[in-house]
Assembly symmetry: C2
């Protein structure tokens, strides 16, 4: 049985762990799809981040039975041909929750504790204590989304003595949320948000969901953070909300176009913090992803039921 991995930079100890665990399996680790493409025809199992697949590649992979996606977003997967060829797809849904929740709390703390200003002062060897330092405690975090990532972020927010409000389609109550509003009451939720975090996937319903009125509904001191997908809100709407003072600060980890072009105004706006889509990345990522692969591999070999199986028709 041949397993083809087209992930770049898999740690050596993780590679060895797999090889030792499954001596009868032929593991081929390639540095990206460019290097791995020639081996597609023989592969029974493909390990990939998923953004390098298209119909042509799937056609080429004549023996493919299972695609293990080492990410959670699957916007670019060619699901119709995958369904047609009856290929099994699993992903690593859930492993982003902890690093992304840490990212959100960390970035909100940076804004609250004026990290940007402090860094500028440090660069200028300037000792100045008269800045407007805020706390998270006692304030309200509004989360757009109530899934695993939003829920873990809300759990940490509760530890900081914050009030947590979720917004979801159903408005159904969930652990770690003091309240959950239905999407129809989005403006009411946003009006309570000292800190607003968007953790929504890209779907027909979420694309362009946030408009001018929503930023106007937030308090003027609100900090808006997007770590879901960039197409949730038109970039001009964010720029304008900052320029007009509808909100105080935006932290953006995801963009309409990635990488963000070098001449994009976001880079230079004092009250917009740009990070290069890194909220889910940590050195613990691949080891954890391979833990899931490992469990699924055992299940696959024993024809047991597997974790995080994707329905190609729904796309999640």
């Amino acid at each position: 049985m041949q397993v083809l991995s087209v992930l770049k930079r898999v740690p050596e100890d993780v590679k060895e762990r797999m090889v030792n665990q499954y001596p009868s399996v032929d593991f081929r680790y390639c540095y990206g799809m460019e290097e791995g493409e020639d081996y597609l025809p023989e592969a029974e199992i493909l390990i990939t981040y998923g953004e390098d697949l298209n119909e042509e590649k799937i056609e080429k992979a004549k023996n493919l039975k299972w695609i293990m996606i080492m990410s959670a977003g699957m916007d670019r997967m060619p699901f119709s041909i995958i369904e047609e060829k009856d290929i099994l797809v699993t992903n690593v849904r859930g492993i982003h929750a902890k690093p992304m929740a840490e990212y959100a709390i960390g970035m909100f703390l940076q804004v609250a504790k004026r990290a940007k200003k402090l860094q500028q002062q440090e660069n200028a060897s300037y000792w100045n204590r008269k800045l407007d330092f805020q706390e998270l405690g006692g304030h309200t975090m509004v989360l757009l989304g109530t899934g695993a990532i939003a829920s873990e972020t809300a759990r940490l927010a509760k530890a900081f003595d914050m009030k947590t409000i979720g917004v979801s389609r159903s408005g159904k109550g969930k652990d770690n949320f003091d309240e959950v509003y239905r999407i129809e009451k989005l403006n009411a939720a946003l009006s309570e948000g000292d800190y607003v975090a968007a953790v929504l996937p890209s779907t027909e319903e979420t694309r362009g969901l946030l408009q001018k009125e929503h930023f106007q509904a937030m308090p003027e001191h609100a900090v808006f953070l997007n770590m879901g997908r960039g197409d949730l809100v038109p970039e001009k709407t964010v720029s304008s909300a900052i320029e007009k003072g509808d909100i105080a600060h935006a932290v953006l980890d995801v963009m309409e176009e990635e990488p963000l072009p070098e001449d994009h105004p976001f880079w230079r706006e004092e009250n917009i913090t740009v990070t290069p889509h890194i909220s889910g990345i940590t050195s613990g990522y691949l080891p954890r992803a391979f833990d899931i692969f490992d469990r699924n591999m055992k299940a696959y070999m024993n024809s047991d039921s597997m974790e995080n199986v994707i329905d190609p028709e729904r796309g999640y």
Copy 2:
């Protein structure tokens, strides 16, 4: 009864709250001791941060019965004359815990999530995702001190799924700490510290406590944070530990000399982050401090027992 406040920048609503609460009391709000000094002779109660007192001022304050210190550090208080004149001293011990714990977690997250590098990339409009992002979760935080601030920091660390080890004189177990080591086992504790936070006051025992050997005991990837007092560790020891790679990063909120001189090398060292003694400052500080004053004022007027009474002989 005259109450003299020599605090700078008391919010108007807080001033009014006191005036309305105690109509029979004469509140005099001055902008610093320079402005307030002339009123010392009439004051029965003095509200101050405490760093502006000396024997001369206490002599001048002939009617002084109670000093309300709106801070926790009292290194510079002229306690012998205060004791001689039998003046009551109270402080606001405890209110620093929440903002300081938020500061510590925020700064550790900044280092773990490579905030300095990301900021440099943002300044250069450079989209680069290949940085070594770490997590707090699964790592160990060692806290020097197990008092209110350390304990609140440990509580948050536990929420992040960290292991927490405290170090104290007694080694007595405490809430929020997985383990507490006696100070004699300091090196053993430090060797486990991925993140090490010092929250110690300045006393005879703590001055110069941390030496070269202690930084050598920490892992090379350790992040050391000092938000207690600057004299815990000689500055040269920190510089040298960073230069030699004994530890990866130092975050310093307190210095041997404050403000840190403009030509000090700390400002320019990439792996030392300097903040200007702000870990305890937030916009919520004075309102909370006046809450304690308010409760103590009621007790004072009714001759009830008061909160946070300081023993001038011990100095805490």
